[in-house]
């Protein structure tokens, strides 16, 4: 059959070279995209951290006048927005990109060009939202943008428009990435890798992606409504026009609560990979961890009103949401016991990743427990909008998500680059971060109990808050020094390379089966999977009988038999994403259309902020990107 297909005139030749700027702009390689996600979001991490330090400097003493109230509002708004949307989410995405294809034994994600699109939209969206600093009118309505404070009446500048449009642009990137990883995990697994044999980090990625795909549209709705309120004068959250500001809280937290699980589940996945590796035991109760993750993801939808206990929804709603909030602590607790069970009786090695992971368990437990405290509406009425809440979510997000991510960075750095991060500097980094973090946020519990409100730019001298605030500020400084040690470590380790080899930690999952750093095509031969933690059991076939003794379950081959099977299995190569048949390694060609499409979307977003003509200027780029993309073959004919 003749295969006729439509052709779109190419403005530029398709990028081919493996080096240079075009190789990055046109790349569809999940590893390069993961690296770009990591670098860009780390830069935003430094920006967000600087914002936090400025706030801590202002609050270090009573009646300080280092920073005015207006700038302080902008700082806490952008600090929250940056850390949630531009740091933790994309840093997790960096791990998804790097690891998911490696962990499931694939050559790339299911939609490599869509993956590139996600990154470029994220990049432009993050620049858009931070561009407001340049215009001198940064968002100042809090990271949750409560109406009516975020409306034009109380917030006439462009700041909150930047915020809301920027979030919508970022939402597009998140949804595209979420869809991509769902399909990748379901459809691109290596032969023999059933759903209950995929690594636990992959499971958590799948659950996170489902949450992203279902929750981000809700944020998009809130964003569109606030944007039309601000730009076109609609009345969604304007009580003078019949709207209701409480509706903003409903829709925002309807997104916002699943969002906190989007932030924490990837870190839980990382920790669930690090602990078994350094305890040299399989994860205790793998199905429990998976089901607990799934239950958290489901129940996470039914707890949003615990952010609104003091709004006055009535006793019935408060009771119901209080119960569901307390219940969701159960699956979270299940996971903590699974991690403890993993450590129990293990042959523990205390390398840097392990230190970070163990700290994660401790800090996350503290943050989780203070969360259960304000699951009770009367208690919450006391704690709402105080530093107690600030302490709670920093223990969960810094002590939880960020420590998990650092654990992952130290753990997988040898896989990403081929060399270790320096262990001594790593331990210094860990120690400084732990000391600084606890010194910064533990006093906030007492400050909150003592009634210090959030989001105030200064406080009176006679409140008795100075000591704790000073401690918190010093803690923030130490935490910042810890991060600087990390940056130094990165450069130091690059200068003084200690080569790691393919499997430095005696790992359990498939990413350790390929070389470090992995080749462009990830695996020379797509692995055949027989067991959960297959790579471990291939290395240590004698341990199989310890874990698989049910005869109906897995027929337990002796070591010799296993070797035979492996050898037989080796020549079989799955085609993966490409349909080009068996045997040949075909990777998708590079494409510049994702970049062009994302430029169009960024211009479109900028148009909603500035004026409608700019929206029109974005449309040609979008059409160019879409048409060119849809008519571009995955691989050019040779």
């Amino acid at each position: 059959m003749t295969t006729k297909s439509l052709k779109f005139p190419q403005a530029f030749p398709r990028p081919k070279s493996a080096t240079g700027i075009w190789s990055w702009i046109g790349t569809v390689d999940h590893k390069r995209i993961g690296t770009m996600y990591g670098i860009v979001s780390f830069i935003w991490f430094l920006v967000g951290g600087l914002e936090a330090l400025l706030m801590r400097a202002q609050l270090a003493s009573a009646e300080n006048d280092l920073i005015g109230p207006e700038a302080f509002n902008q700082l806490f708004t952008m600090h929250g927005t940056t850390m949630v949307f531009l740091v933790i989410m994309p840093l997790s995405a960096a791990f998804f990109n790097w690891l998911i294809p490696l962990q499931i034994g694939a050559r790339d994600v299911a939609f490599p060009r869509l993956n590139a699109l996600s990154f470029w939209i994220f990049l432009f969206g993050s620049i858009l939202i931070n561009f407001s600093w340049v215009t001198g009118d940064a968002p100042n309505g809090g990271w949750f943008g409560y109406a009516p404070n975020s409306g034009t009446t109380f917030n006439p500048g462009l700041g909150m428009t930047y915020w809301v449009v920027g979030l919508n642009v970022l939402g597009v990137a998140s949804i595209a990435a979420g869809l991509n990883f769902i399909v990748t995990i379901l459809n691109m697994r290596a032969p023999g890798m059933d759903m209950f044999k995929i690594p636990i980090f992959t499971w958590m990625t799948l659950i996170t992606s489902v949450l992203i795909v279902l929750a981000m549209p809700v944020l998009a709705v809130a964003g569109i409504q606030l944007m039309t309120d601000r730009v076109y004068g609609t009345h969604f959250f304007n009580s003078l026009g019949g709207g209701d500001p409480v509706m903003w809280q409903h829709i925002f937290w309807l997104f916002g609560h699943p969002e906190v699980y989007i932030l924490i589940l990837p870190a839980m996945g990382i920790v669930s990979e690090v602990l078994p590796t350094f305890a040299r035991k399989p994860l205790f109760g793998y199905p429990f961890v998976v089901f607990a993750g799934a239950v958290i993801a489901f129940m996470g939808w039914f707890v949003w009103s615990h952010h609104m206990f003091t709004v006055g929804l009535g006793p019935a709603a408060n009771t119901a949401f209080s119960i569901s909030t307390m219940l969701i602590a159960v699956p979270t607790g299940v996971k903590i016991f699974n991690w403890l069970g993993t450590l129990w009786g293990g042959n523990i090695r205390l390398n840097t990743p392990m230190l970070f992971s163990i700290s994660f368990i401790a800090m996350f437990t503290i943050g989780g427990l203070s969360g259960v405290m304000h699951a009770s509406p009367p208690t919450d009425a006391q704690q709402q909008d105080t530093y107690f809440i600030v302490a709670h979510f920093h223990y969960v997000l810094v002590g939880g998500a960020l420590l998990g991510i650092f654990s992952g960075i130290y753990f997988w750095w040898p896989k990403f680059t081929g060399y270790f991060l320096n262990e001594k500097l790593g331990i210094a980094n860990w120690a400084l971060m732990m000391i600084g973090f606890n010194l910064q946020f533990a006093p906030m519990h007492w400050l909150g109990m003592d009634g210090m409100p959030r989001r105030i730019y200064t406080y009176a001298e006679n409140m008795g808050w100075e000591g704790s605030n000073l401690a918190a500020s010093i803690g923030g400084l130490i935490l910042g020094i810890g991060i600087l040690v990390f940056i130094f470590n990165v450069f130091y380790s690059k200068m003084n390379k200690v080569m790691a080899g393919d499997d430095p930690w005696d790992g359990r999952t498939l990413e350790w089966a390929t070389s470090s750093p992995p080749p462009v095509h990830d695996f020379d031969v797509i692995p055949q999977v027989q067991y959960r933690d297959d790579f471990w059991f291939k290395k240590y076939p004698e341990t199989i009988s310890e874990y698989y003794h049910d005869d109906h379950d897995q027929a337990v081959p002796s070591g010799a038999q296993l070797d035979d099977e492996v050898e037989e299995a080796l020549p079989v190569v799955s085609g993966g994403s490409d349909d080009h048949g068996h045997g040949a390694i075909h990777l998708p060609d590079m494409s510049y259309y994702p970049f062009i499409l994302s430029v169009g979307i960024a211009i479109l977003g900028a148009g909603f902020i500035t004026n409608t003509y700019v929206v029109g200027a974005g449309v040609p780029f979008i059409l160019w990107g879409l048409l060119g993309w849809s008519m571009e073959p995955v691989n050019d004919p040779e």
Partner: protein
């Protein structure tokens, strides 16, 4: 048709872990995402139903006969869509092209109805800025209209592809995926028609407030 013909119709089994096509799987996941998107807008509409402080109120302005016709047009475009896919899958190029073109035309007619309706409403004094009904109504139906516009463009692209022979029996999946999107836009309208038009059309002014439009 015979048994043999039945097996011919079977989709090729994909070389993926689930045996399902990745793009189709992604389309369904995206539709799940879009369910939440429209769900939030419809929920907003329902929460704000009957909360308008000033007119025009729905009972004064909604034109059920007109919208019934446009609803019917969109429903029939779904039928045309599924027939177009049927004929493309059967390899009947011309019939397939014609039915896809019918989808484009019916979709465009629907957009025309919506444009006319919006203009009429604005003429009678209902804009997104007038009251909360105007806000929720225009943004919800406008977002739906944007979906229809994208769908019409996509279908026009498909019709062109079918005409030139780039869309064939063997890659009918491209059309099937576009069709899923089109049908989804249709089912959203099924909900909107019921909730905004048929159910709300009797929502008048609050007690004690006279009519705000004098015909």
């Amino acid at each position: 048709m015979t048994q043999a013909a039945a097996t011919e119709h079977h989709e090729p089994v994909e070389n993926t872990s689930t045996g399902l096509n990745s793009r189709k799987l992604m389309m369904w996941a995206f539709l799940g995402s879009d369910v939440m998107f429209f769900g939030a807008f419809i929920a907003t509409y329902l929460v704000y139903r009957g909360k308008s402080l000033v007119g025009p109120y729905p009972s004064e302005i909604l034109d059920i006969p007109l919208t019934s016709v446009s609803t019917f047009v969109l429903l029939m475009s779904s039928l045309a869509m599924v027939l177009g896919l049927h004929y493309v899958k059967e390899g009947q190029k011309n019939k397939g092209t014609i039915w896809i073109l019918v989808v484009v035309v019916l979709g465009a007619i629907f957009m025309g109805f919506q444009f006319y309706e919006f203009r009429e409403f604005a003429h009678e004094g209902l804009t997104p800025r007038t009251n909360i009904f105007g806000t929720t109504f225009f943004i919800l139906t406008g977002i739906h209209g944007a979906h229809v516009t994208i769908g019409v463009a996509w279908m026009a692209f498909m019709a062109y592809g079918s005409h030139t022979g780039a869309l064939r029996k063997d890659n009918a999946l491209d059309l099937e995926i576009a069709g899923l999107y089109w049908h989804f836009v249709d089912i959203v309208w099924i909900v909107i028609f019921t909730v905004i038009y048929l159910i709300s059309a009797t929502d008048g002014p609050p007690p004690g407030v006279g009519p705000t439009i004098l015909h």
